[in-house]
């Protein structure tokens, strides 16, 4: 079975780890969101790609949900005296990833090429692609103007009223090499339990990707990151609301209609099934909170079984 998974960070990482435990090597192509990439201390940081690679390489700090296990922040501490921003928590071991990526990009390698090397070096058994080799940047309009996504998410800790979200540069971006081909060849496409607006949304903003999802005869399956009217983590609830969508699995379904085939939603939200069916989407209830490895694998198995 060949799968493509569109992925954000923390929530996606859990499901991907579950899938990795069940799938043969190289049977999964992960397409990572790069809308929240940022330049920090002159380095190219790709938070979602790193979370995915660290998770699939068995290196993720699972308590925090980001960064490497056994991390320290000594460079960060030494940055204070230079007046460099320290709100973005770059760890010492994590820095090696960003230094290596930045050096390779500066030498002319594409983000796809660099991501493939980083993933292999980090021990990932599957293909990891950025959504695009071109820069697409998620920006959030707050009361005082536009913020880069990391400024909104990390620096302001999402405590800013969101009036609009845009994906700057999307019009000129192209899907990463091999991305559309992977969707075309996939037996199923999964939309990980990630924020529909700022994690999966940027991926879908790259011209050609939605068209490929519409065209594929394979089922497109989303896993709702909203349980019982609240996001499992992060600002997905407020961002759905800012888009005028219900803060529920139904809002997730509406984000992806009309090309979504299946929505995996939490058992707690079983009452939403008729509305989801009415939208032409097949609901599949499961326990979607993944607390610990056993639950990650259980959800992954349920999804794989539903695909036949």
């Amino acid at each position: 079975m060949r799968l493509v998974a569109l992925a954000g960070g923390t929530g996606a990482a859990k499901l991907l780890r579950g899938l990795d435990a069940l799938l043969d090597r190289q049977s999964l192509t992960v397409v990572g969101n790069t809308g929240d990439d940022a330049r920090i201390w002159g380095l190219h940081v790709s938070p979602d790609l790193d979370t995915i690679c660290y998770a699939l390489g068995g290196l993720l700090d699972e308590e925090r949900g980001w960064g490497l296990r056994d991390e320290s922040f000594r460079t960060l501490g030494a940055m204070v005296r230079f007046g460099e921003p320290t709100w973005f928590n770059l760890g010492d071991r994590d820095l090696a990833t960003h230094l290596h990526r930045t050096r390779l990009l500066a030498e002319g390698h594409s983000l796809s090429e660099v991501t493939a090397k980083l993933a292999a070096d980090l021990g990932v058994r599957h293909a990891v692609l950025p959504m695009s080799d071109q820069a697409v940047r998620t920006r959030v309009l707050g009361p005082d103007g536009w913020l880069g996504f990391q400024e909104y998410f990390v620096r302001e800790k999402t405590q800013v009223e969101v009036r609009a979200v845009e994906y700057a540069g999307a019009h000129e971006a192209r899907p990463a090499p091999g991305l559309l081909e992977a969707i075309g060849a996939a037996d199923a496409v999964l939309l990980c339990p990630s924020n529909p607006v700022t994690s999966v949304g940027p991926i879908l903003s790259v011209p050609g990707i939605v068209e490929a999802l519409q065209a594929t005869p394979a089922p497109v399956v989303a896993i709702s990151p909203i349980v019982g009217g609240r996001a499992v983590s992060g600002p997905a609830g407020r961002l759905l609301a800012a888009r005028g969508l219900p803060v529920s699995a139904l809002g997730v379904a509406q984000s992806y209609a009309p090309w979504l085939d299946v929505l995996v939603l939490d058992e707690e939200d079983v009452a939403l099934c008729p509305s989801i069916e009415a939208a032409g989407i097949r609901p599949l209830t499961a326990r979607t909170l993944m607390i610990g490895r056993v639950e990650e694998i259980r959800l992954a198995r349920k999804i794989l079984e539903s695909l036949g």
Copy 2:
């Protein structure tokens, strides 16, 4: 009293610390060797400028003679899996300096401007200038071809026969802004106890600097880094020999003749005084080994007293 000091790394750092203890703030202009600057992991590393700034900021690891006190090497450890070179020991706290420098240079600031900011941020009370804003790179010809200075010094640990030394780029380089003016206004110019070939030599290779030393009526005073026929540290002995010069304070004097006025040499080498006088240079004997802060200050005081 206004002093200019041409400086390499470890040996210079000791004398400069001694001078700093005796001088008013901003009475010293240190001109640092950038011939051994290198690009490591995509970062611009200036080992001698950093040793000087760390020493004058009270942050130097005095046991090693380079880098910061209380250092760790966690990023370095994480670089192994990416196949990045790890022979250059970049510490985690030290990395902040190189990241900040590299970012400012990439934004278009000159090395002089960046060095001034780093020195101030690190608590240095004096002016620190690179010898040039242009790249001059010391290269060493070994049996298997040319090596960058850090490859020779750190990676090969100087265990390579040296057939030639060159300062690539020197012809096109210009002295850093304010450098010639500082020499012109100085009451004395000191050549720190640094390697004449690969620490002071690159500084002298920048067109205009030797001419300024020849032109100044102020005394030019060198401190010999060679004691009793051996370098106090590093490969200065072998490099002098490779240049056909005696491995002694006399060889140091000959490196700087005919514009050198005073040579400070170790008491142990008092027998060389007649030969040095015969070369038209005034010898001044002192205990030049600086083991601990008291000896650093004692040598600095003796030099300052000799200047009147």
